[in-house]
């Protein structure tokens, strides 16, 4: 059953209350939201299986803290989309603004357009697939999970990165501190193939390069004592 919630008739709080209650009830229903008009915090805090399709563009913090729900934005998303996602899938048909998927612990964030700066900042296990380009300082302090970029990456990719894996098909403008290109081993190709398939991305794993941590910042180096 699909329920349509029209935001010309319902305000944001009414819409989110309906969605959150349905998610909590483990209803596994489908909802369509019309006339989102760039509203903030749409479909956030969903804590159970639910399908949500948003017909238009969203503002700040759409699909934040998502758990198990499948959320699709048929437009572009403002800053902080799918921030701190735990599980589930968030798909953006257009572009995503800055810090998409920040601090995410799990699930898949699938961005069909471009993502801007700070994509996947401090990611902690989320998988992010960006079909276009990403902006500067993406995957800053990224701890765990996979960031896959079919286009190009901006400046300072993976600065101060921990154990997240970064796969970029296009160019990388510059790598951040302690981020290096790494060998693409069979297990990485396998992971990447599965992610590309899941995200419906038209690309082959062999076309990508892998980047990750040089692990030089993990421990204090006594030779650098003078620098402090």
């Amino acid at each position: 059953m699909t329920t349509t919630l029209d935001m010309t008739a319902l305000d944001l709080r009414q819409v989110n209350t309906r969605l959150q209650a349905a998610a909590r009830a483990q209803a596994n229903e489908d909802y369509v939201i019309t006339n989102p008009r760039g509203s903030h915090a749409m479909a956030c805090g969903l804590d159970g299986p639910l399908g949500v399709t948003i017909k238009g563009s969203t503002g700040y913090y759409c699909a934040g803290m998502n758990k198990e729900a499948t959320i699709t934005v048929e437009g572009s998303a403002g800053p902080g989309v799918a921030e701190n996602m735990m599980s589930g899938t968030v798909t953006i048909h257009g572009d995503a603004s800055q810090y998409a998927g920040a601090t995410g612990h799990g699930g898949l964030l699938n961005i069909k357009g471009n993502a801007s700066s700070r994509c996947g900042i401090s990611m902690k296990g989320i998988d992010i697939v960006v079909h276009g380009n990403i902006g500067h300082m993406s995957a800053f302090m990224a701890q765990k999970g996979n960031l896959v970029v079919l286009g190009d990456a901006g400046d300072a990719l993976g600065d101060s990165i921990y154990e997240a894996r970064l796969f970029v098909r296009g160019s990388v403008k510059s790598l951040g501190a302690d981020c290096i290109e790494k060998e693409m081993r069979p297990e990485h190709l396998e992971t990447l193939a599965a992610l590309l398939d899941k995200a419906g991305a038209d690309a082959r794993p062999e076309e990508f390069r892998r980047y990750g941590s040089a692990r030089k910042l993990y421990n204090f180096n006594i030779d650098h004592a003078d620098e402090y």
């Binding site: 008009r37 760039g38 509203s39 238009g56 563009s57 969203t58 503002g59 700040y60 572009s76 403002g78 800053p79 257009g94 572009d95 603004s97 800055q98 801007s116 700066s117 902006g135 500067h136």
Partner: protein, 296 residues
């Protein structure tokens, strides 16, 4: 946090609706800046004549005989249109300096001047400010607006955006500049003075001074990336169009939309929701440290 909106029309048939569209965009940005609001609107120009927009705390007294006084002093008739706390005087181009000095002597605050630019700004909610000035009824080729959440200077009319520091030029800003005092001193040494304590006015004066030295709008905006320190998303209005630039960190939001009819700028997509044909518009986020401008 502040809100910025901008609209540049590519076709003349939307000109009568410019104020109406900008007003909706401005009111939508109230959450980002409820302290004050302002708009610069580029309307019809009359050859050989300059518009000077002035403001007074006591408009009934200040504007009562203003046209007669200025006409007498200049020895030729001037036109005066009073709009709430603001008034627009239309004077011959070669008498602008004289008229401006006269207006300032009478205790009036000069908001800006130019062939087509008029500036209206006041303390208060954007909805109320727009209603006071009748912004909805204003037409023009392009305009920029701002809703302010004050950080770097007090909530006053003079601290409201847009800031104009040269004819037909104005600037709105989301962010805060950290080297504005140093830049203010540097500009003063070159004879470029600002009227307020506000950081954005220094940004506007910097751009105007670069243009006065011969830089193009694009070059002047490019210079902000190198010479101004701090956070900024700037939208700069000129007689022929507007330009956009964001600092390299680009944490202050910006989104743009373009159709065959217009180019629109806003801090958030929400401000575009009522624009005609927005569903089919090309919508994108301007890149950091990249200058964009549109001119007719």
């Amino acid at each position: 946090m502040c809100g910025i909106v901008g609209l540049f029309l590519k076709k003349d048939d939307l000109r009568p609706r410019l104020g109406d569209m900008l007003t909706d965009m401005l009111i939508t940005m109230t959450d980002r800046g409820p302290d004050s609001a302002g708009i610069a609107i580029y309307g019809d120009a009359e050859a050989g004549r300059t518009k000077i927009t002035v403001q007074s705390e006591d408009p009934a007294r200040a504007f009562a005989d203003l046209d007669a006084a200025v006409s007498e002093a200049l020895g030729q008739p001037v036109t005066l249109t009073v709009v709430d706390t603001h008034a627009v005087l239309i004077v011959p181009d070669d008498r602008v300096a004289e008229a401006t000095a006269l207006l300032e002597d009478r205790g009036l605050r000069v908001m800006g001047s130019g062939a087509s630019m008029e500036i209206y700004k006041e303390v208060g909610l954007p909805r109320d400010v727009a209603a006071r000035f009748g912004l909805r009824q204003m037409g023009g080729s392009h305009g920029i607006g701002h809703t302010r959440m004050a950080t770097e200077s007090a909530v006053t009319t003079m601290g409201a955006h847009p800031f104009s520091t040269a004819p037909d030029q104005c600037l709105v800003h989301n962010g805060s500049l950290s080297n504005h005092n140093q830049m203010r001193r540097r500009l003063a040494k070159k004879g470029v003075f600002t009227r307020s304590e506000n950081d954005t006015e220094v940004g506007a004066a910097y751009i105007s001074s670069r243009i006065a030295e011969g830089a193009s709008l694009g070059e002047a905006l490019d210079g902000t990336i190198r010479d101004l320190d701090g956070f900024f998303t700037f939208v700069m209005g000129t007689r022929t169009g507007f330009g956009v630039v964001r600092d390299p960190i680009a944490c202050k939001p910006a989104v743009m939309a373009e159709t065959d009819d217009y180019v629109a700028f806003a801090s958030e997509y929400r401000a575009f929701a009522d624009l005609p044909g927005i569903e089919a518009a090309r919508v994108w986020e301007p890149e950091p440290a990249t200058v964009y401008f549109w001119e007719r």
